[in-house]
Amino acid sequence: MTIHAHVVISYGQSNNPTKRQLESVLAERLAKLDGVTTLVVPNLYDLAPTSSTIQRLKTLPGDLIVLGWLYDRATHWILDRNGVLGKFGITELPIDEDDEEELDSSLDGDNEASADDMARVIDERPALDRTIYSLDLRKTPDVEVFVDEVERIVSIAAQSRPQPLLDWLQGEGTAEQMSRYLGEPETTDDATGRRWYPVIDFSRCTNCMECIDFCLFGVYGVNGADTILVEQADNCRKGCPACSRVCPENAIIFPQHKTPAIAGSPANAGGLKIDLSQLFGGSNAVTEAANERDEQLIMAGRDAVGMAVGIPKRQSGGRATDRDELDNLVDELDSLDL
């Protein structure tokens, strides 16, 4: 008997009964599939790195298939920040018919930002030999679609690396114990409250440090290798997405934000659809970020700083490489007072 992949189902943040229903039906169905174990866990975004669930996830070897109520990128990089690392698995959930036309212009997975020769943080990392597949449960209420996709991934995993369950149980598995893990979903339990913090997509991040300069709440830090990290996640101000607008690579994800581009939708901001906001009277992203930051500063009883602190240098034309034709156009737009 072999296990080829581990399925993880992450609860939604709310207690929405429709969501609960899909989660439990899926857990039952997926646990019955050959070649997988199924683990049901609290909302991944809300979990602390020290929680028993995260500890448990870290012990799961081989490929992971993670189902949750978030964009695939959000799920992937939440796991990453918690030390559950893997290559970004390309999934094949069917796309809404409406979106089909857009397919050509959107790229799958984690490579859409790497088309140019900018060095990404991920390039510095050792190669990973396991893959993490994230599936967004919001895509369809149809259980069978997810079951089919999990089966497809498991068959790929089986070809690449059949993995004995005994190894996974670290030698302590007897036949009876094994059967305990098969056929039934297992559940982990950690008390979670709703959290709000940025998650960095390191396949996009260039370690430019704009975010650490911009945030005045001490959320960002650097590790021993001087790589950016979200150090004090819970210092982040609830509802504030400001730094995501400042990041030149669109690498900062707020998984619960209502704007898809900020919540980790697959394409670059505006890549899927033309964003007309600026033509229809919106201000540019950095101005908006500075306003949002001021709002948070004032709520925290501090003084607003406007555009005086930590505003990306590219706004003053400092980063020549970042200035392309579009930037210039956007500046022209600003000066037009639309």
Partner: protein, 151 residues
Amino acid sequence: MSDELTFMMGEFEAVFPTDRKYASNHMWGQQRGDHWRFGFTAYAVRLLQDVYFLEWDVEAGRELRDRQQMGAIESKKAESDLFSPLHGTVLKFNGVLMDDPSHINVDKYTDGWLFDMTGDGSGLMAADDYIVHLNSVWEITQKTIKGQLNQ
């Protein structure tokens, strides 16, 4: 509808009735007693094309700053946040659009209106001034859209 002015968006002829005023964020405004009724201009609708989603983030009765974000719209090809054309109070949103936002495409100057709001409309433009405004933004609008498409 009385008189109208036209503006060529490439091959497309955008039409603007002269019986109303225009805001620079591409909404028309028509005075109705003590308040204004706003809707999208032909220019905005042409950029959006087939609208299928419209959402308001504020409730009727809310006072809005000029240019305050108030909602979002999505079409097959484009999306945009929506911003208040005036400083004033929203009185009412067009309920017809809540069920079927495609009225924006069909009846933009009549049944496809967006909302009613109070406020000082003296800053709104007459149709001919709006055409002048469009002349100044059309070039950049095209480039912006192309720029985003080529991303």
